[in-house]
């Protein structure tokens, strides 16, 4: 065999670096800020921005595991129902005299269990797509929440619990710090670990992954379980902010979350996309909503704007492909 030398140095071109979808998001983000500042005098105000951030960050916790799910070429539309169910069980337990600390742990456990059940069903019934499985559990989880609470709302939580949704560390909202911590953890898990690499592998070619010794089923279950856990985390922050809960909370969260992930450049075909894109999309949509809300644009019009953004996101595949997973980082 003739000897042949391959380079193991990462090719770095300026053009390739800037032709990434994330830069498009950054530009859009700047455009949204500039537009908002010009449209309303109230936008560029620290207190206002801070409050706005606190109000849209609750669902952002689910965006993090949803990135994994969509990279796997799966989807989970039961997350909103998991938020409701874990929140309702927590509140109900507390109302029946269980200490709040314990109820909080149960809330996380319920979310985790719901996610685990999703994962298990998807892995066991290969002929069913994840849309169908999570559509079913979405209805079931929400149904259980209604059975437990009927149509009432439960609240009056202890004072310390309010800190989650309303508290500050110095002048920075606690929820923002919590999100930052989770975002970094999930980012590392996706981009720096063997687990993340395998998630990309499964999303790109599940058969080849299996033949390469990747435990496809196990990884899918773990990812869906994480989505359940993070839905419960969202339940904690959301319940704390609202001060009470009812079975219909977080309705439609799944669509908001999926929209953010897709806008973040994560392809529903699987195997492509990066965490930073989804995180940028969270803030992009968050501030867009807030800004347009300030100038009294109706929520319905907002939906149209977000829909147009999504179509834009999925119709620029050329930009999206560059650097998002295909060539990827490192090796």
């Amino acid at each position: 065999m003739e000897p042949r030398v391959l380079t193991s140095k990462k090719p770095l071109t300026l053009k390739g670096f800037f032709l990434q979808w994330e830069w498009m998001l950054v530009l859009l983000f700047i455009a949204v800020i500039v537009m908002n500042v010009n449209l309303s005098d109230y936008f560029w105000d620290y207190n206002n921005l801070r409050d706005a951030t606190m109000s849209f960050l609750d669902k952002a916790f689910i965006v993090l595991p949803m990135v994994f799910i969509i990279i796997l070429a799966d989807i989970d539309i039961s997350v909103g129902s998991i938020v409701a169910l874990s929140s309702v069980i927590m509140a109900d337990l507390y109302a029946h005299g269980v200490p709040m600390e314990l109820a909080l742990i149960v809330c996380l456990a319920v979310g985790t269990l719901c996610g685990y059940i999703n994962g298990l069903l998807i892995v066991k019934f290969k002929e069913l797509s994840s849309v169908i499985v999570t559509l079913s559990t979405m209805i079931i989880y929400r149904g259980i929440a209604y059975i437990l609470l009927k149509d009432q709302s439960v609240g009056k939580f202890p004072k310390w619990f309010n800190y989650l949704g309303w508290g500050y560390v110095g002048s920075i909202p606690f929820i923002l710090i919590a999100f930052a911590v989770f975002a970094v953890l999930f980012g590392i898990l996706l981009h720096k670990t063997t687990f993340g690499r395998k998630v990309y592998a499964i999303g790109s070619n599940p058969t080849a992954s299996r033949y390469s010794g990747v435990q496809v089923d196990r990884i899918k279950i773990i990812v869906f379980t994480l989505a359940g856990l993070m839905s419960a985390v969202t339940a904690l922050f959301l319940t704390s902010r609202m001060g009470s809960t009812r079975p219909n909370i977080a309705t439609g969260y799944e669509l908001d979350v999926i929209a953010m992930v897709v806008l973040g450049g994560i392809s529903t075909a699987g195997g492509k996309g990066r965490m930073i894109g989804a995180i940028l999309a969270v803030f992009l949509i968050g501030y867009l909503r807030y800004g347009l809300g300030l100038i009294n644009i109706s929520a319905q019009t907002l939906l149209i704007v977000i829909g147009l953004l999504l179509i834009f996101a999925v119709s620029v595949p050329k930009l999206k492909w560059k650097g998002t997973g295909a060539k990827g980082k490192a090796v």
């Binding site: 042949r4 193991s8 990462k10 670990t193 690499r197 080849a208 033949y211 010794g213 195997g271 997973g325």
Partner: protein, 504 residues
């Protein structure tokens, strides 16, 4: 009427990098059953696709009843009365038999375009009875057996008034009785004046049915004979009789201790009673026709699918393989048959693909150490001499041969003792082939035990120390190096005359 209903002259068809048909001739008389024979890859499938209008030939002419024709699409061929029936019936399993028969040419009312169900059912009923079938045309297609589905396909051909019917290995999936039924139907069609091109690997089919036989080999036309005029040995020579001109760089490896022993392995419906052993440094060939169960045996050994009978001993100890991961941990690696679907993540770079099976090696507590990963990838890619500039090049940009080298490099990342190579040179050009043989030979010398599944006789003969021949899920012959000949392999892999009793 012309002497021939169908005549093909000098047909050549080239695909990128491969000459699939090279100056091929074929003549079909009215009311004749004409067998078309040849090894896997001899060009039979491409030939059918040319006749049925799927592929347009690059050169050559097609005559139908003496008139020159040109098929621009499968529809043109259908209209000309040519129909093909395949081994794997392509049907709509959820629709009724009637709907399957009339798919694409439904009977509709001229005025209202309403579908005339009663007419269609009656016509379907008539066709089925004519073919001797007893099931109702309202039966759901998916509920029928393969043999019955083939009858429906034939009925479909008749409903379109097909004069030329091509049957592509129709008996491969049928039992003896079902085959017998198919023979009778074929004869009935012939007596009605249809001409049949019958493709089969079974000599039995040919002797039972055909009056003429045409042989292709290596995409070339070898000859046409009357079945009663050519002897069986002559026919075998015609099918395989090429000289082995390729260079096989087989080196004599030191044969060591036994690594793997399989006893009476079976999986219901796929293979049965498979026994063999493999030693360090040995290359064991596993051959036979496509569908003989070779891949299924390999997949059972690698833990992709299960097995329900028999035992596997690895290094003297019995074990049950449950997953590919477990097999790899123990020391068995598998190079899958379909490298694009099973072997590679095409959107990924060379480096990422190479390290996928052994990621944990380049990680500390789950965190990837990209420097050591890149180093390994570079080292292994160079070891199998992948032709690329960088380990960051996408595998989708590589040629088939170089992609296959990347799959080999993947195997080298793990600490393995046994390598199962499933069609390692499939779809690879000649130059890359000999490079791959070189890799295989070197691996054997460095102490791996290798099982090589292959349909290509030259490489089986050139590379293997021993060969197991499979037919219909069973090993029909185990040949030592000195006994490996093309004739011996072919006889053991094909059913029917002459009975391979002495080989068994």
């Amino acid at each position: 009427m012309a002497e021939y209903v169908l005549e093909l002259k000098g047909i050549t068809k080239t695909f990128p990098g491969v000459k699939a048909l090279d100056n091929v001739y074929f003549k079909l008389r009215p009311g004749e059953i004409h067998a078309l024979m040849g090894e896997n890859g001899a060009g039979k499938s491409t030939f059918i696709k040319v006749i049925t209008g799927v592929h347009a030939p690059d050169e050559g002419e097609i005559y139908l009843n003496g008139e020159k024709v040109e098929f621009k699409s499968p529809n043109d061929a259908k209209k000309a009365g040519i129909a093909a029936i395949y081994q794997h019936v392509t049907c709509y399993p959820d629709l009724s038999v009637t709907e399957n028969i009339f798919m694409g040419h439904e009977k509709v009312s001229k005025l209202t375009k309403r579908i005339l169900w009663n007419d269609m059912h009656a016509e379907a009923e008539r066709l089925l009875r004519e073919l001797g079938a007893t099931f109702s045309p309202k039966t759901q297609m998916g509920a029928l057996s393969v043999a019955e589905q083939q009858i429906v396909e034939i009925a479909k051909a008749l409903s379109m008034d097909a004069k030329i019917i091509i049957m592509d290995e129709p008996t491969a999936a049928l039992s003896r009785n079902e085959s017998e039924e198919l023979y009778r139907i074929a004869e009935r069609l012939r007596d009605r004046g249809a001409s049949i091109i019958f493709i089969s690997h079974r000599f039995e089919d040919m002797y039972r049915l055909a009056s003429m036989v045409t042989v292709f080999r290596d995409s070339k036309y070898i000859g046409t004979w009357r079945v009663d005029e050519i002897s069986n040995p002559d026919l075998i020579v015609a099918m395989v009789g090429r000289e082995i001109t390729q260079l096989f760089p087989k080196k004599e490896a030191k044969i060591g201790e036994e690594l793997l022993r399989v006893e009476g392995l079976g999986r219901t419906g796929y293979f049965a009673d498979v026994s063999f052993s493999l030693r360090r440094g040995e290359i064991l060939g596993l051959t036979g026709l496509v569908g003989a169960g070779r891949t299924e045996v390999c997949q059972a050994l690698f833990g992709v699918t299960g097995y329900d009978k028999g035992k596997i001993y690895f290094k003297g100890r019995e074990w049950k393989v449950k997953s590919p991961l477990e097999a790899m941990k123990r020391g068995i690696g598998y190079l899958p048959e379909d490298r694009q679907k099973q072997g590679l993540v095409l959107q990924w770079s060379i480096g990422r693909n190479i390290t996928l099976p052994s990621l944990e090696k380049y990680a500390r507590r789950g965190l990837l150490r990209t420097a050591s990963e890149a180093q390994t990838a570079k080292h292994l890619a160079e070891k199998v001499s992948v032709k690329a500039g960088s380990i960051f090049d996408l595998v989708s940009s590589l040629s088939g041969g170089n992609q296959q080298k990347v799959v080999f490099a993947k195997l080298l990342t793990a600490d393995l003792d046994v390598l199962i190579l499933d069609e390692p040179t499939k779809g690879v050009d000649v130059g890359a082939k000999s490079a791959i043989y070189e890799i295989i030979s070197e691996l054997a010398c460095s102490g791996y035990g290798i099982i090589m599944v292959s349909s290509e006789m030259p490489e089986i003969i050139g590379m293997c120390d021993r060969v197991a021949v499979m037919r219909e899920g069973r090993i029909t012959a185990m040949l030592d190096r000195k006994d490996i000949t093309q004739e011996a392999i072919l006889q053991a892999s094909m059913a029917g005359e002459p009975a391979p009793a002495e080989i068994r």
